[in-house]
Symmetry: C2
Subunit: 159 residues, 2 copies
DNA sequence: TTAACTATTTTTAGACG
DNA sequence: CCGTCTAAAAATAGTTA
């Protein structure tokens, strides 16, 4: 029939799990698109299935969002990120939830100050960021080639 | 009363737009968490409000997903990304939707081959990736300091 | 501002083709 | 592996506190 009312836990059956993944991923993307349209916001959704496939949505683009995220969350100098509880600051802040196991206890939310650089300025660096992304991969290639013997049969970069 | 049935277009009123952004962002995160739990998948959701605040969720972490995304979507050598229609390949592929205006015409979906590097191997490079992220920001700092005059009053990195 | 409330819309699990 | 269908569950726009 239509007996719904699932508990949110891992689906053991592989076929069912994949079916649900597909359906819910589509629903998640749809929700993200609606958020972007109705709220004039920018957003990205990136998902990896167990099989290793990646599905991503982003507006204006996934790379834009990823780059902006990297910029926004990388501390300029030190590495200590001030962790607050909830936003009691004026206007700019970042909230990051890092795992899924919290029971709404607001124990793993982070908040840190962000500057005033707007999108117009950020977009000036988009090209540079994309180039940087390539450099990251190049660097990884270097790490791979220096840490793995080629005769191990590992593909060079492949990622 | 409760007359719902909104059309998905930009909300002009700022207060309403922000309220909707908050509600829908929470809903989006909840959906992402359910997807992760039920399907044993990895996912990240990153949103930027118009005010410039960033809210992000990721499992196992936003950075993990972002790094994995960067690795998965960066072509090893050339830059030409083969664009297919829909997944008719065997197992590994990437689908990227880059904008929100498409009317399900599947005109802006990309698909490109991805290798077999699994999470275990990918995680070996997590630390390196995080360091790379810092280097990206350092590089941007360099770009800023070389392209902007300090007397313009622009904060150094700030982003 | 932020938090309920709730009628209604929207999503989705399961079944079927 | 698609898509379609449907009842139940979940999300949410508009309102109120």
């Amino acid at each position: 029939m239509v007996r719904t009312k699932v508990e949110i836990k891992r689906i053991e059956d592989k076929a069912k799990r994949h079916t649900t993944f597909t359906k819910r991923r589509q629903g998640l993307f749809k929700k993200a698109k609606e958020l972007v349209k109705r709220c004039d916001a920018q957003a990205a959704v990136i998902t990896f299935s167990l099989a290793g496939n990646v599905f991503a949505f982003g507006h204006p683009s996934v790379d834009d969002i990823v780059n902006r995220y990297i910029v926004a969350t990388s501390a300029p100098e030190g590495d200590e990120i001030p962790v607050h509880k909830e936003t009691e600051k004026k206007d700019k802040d970042v909230v990051i939830e890092n795992n899924v196991d919290q029971e709404d206890e607001e124990t793993t939310s982070f908040e840190l100050p962000v500057g005033d650089m707007g999108m117009e300025e950020l977009e000036e660096f988009e090209v540079a960021m994309v180039e940087m992304k390539k450099k990251v991969v190049d660097r990884i290639n270097g790490i791979i080639s220096s840490s793995k013997e080629e005769d191990l049969g590992l593909p060079y970069i492949q990622v």
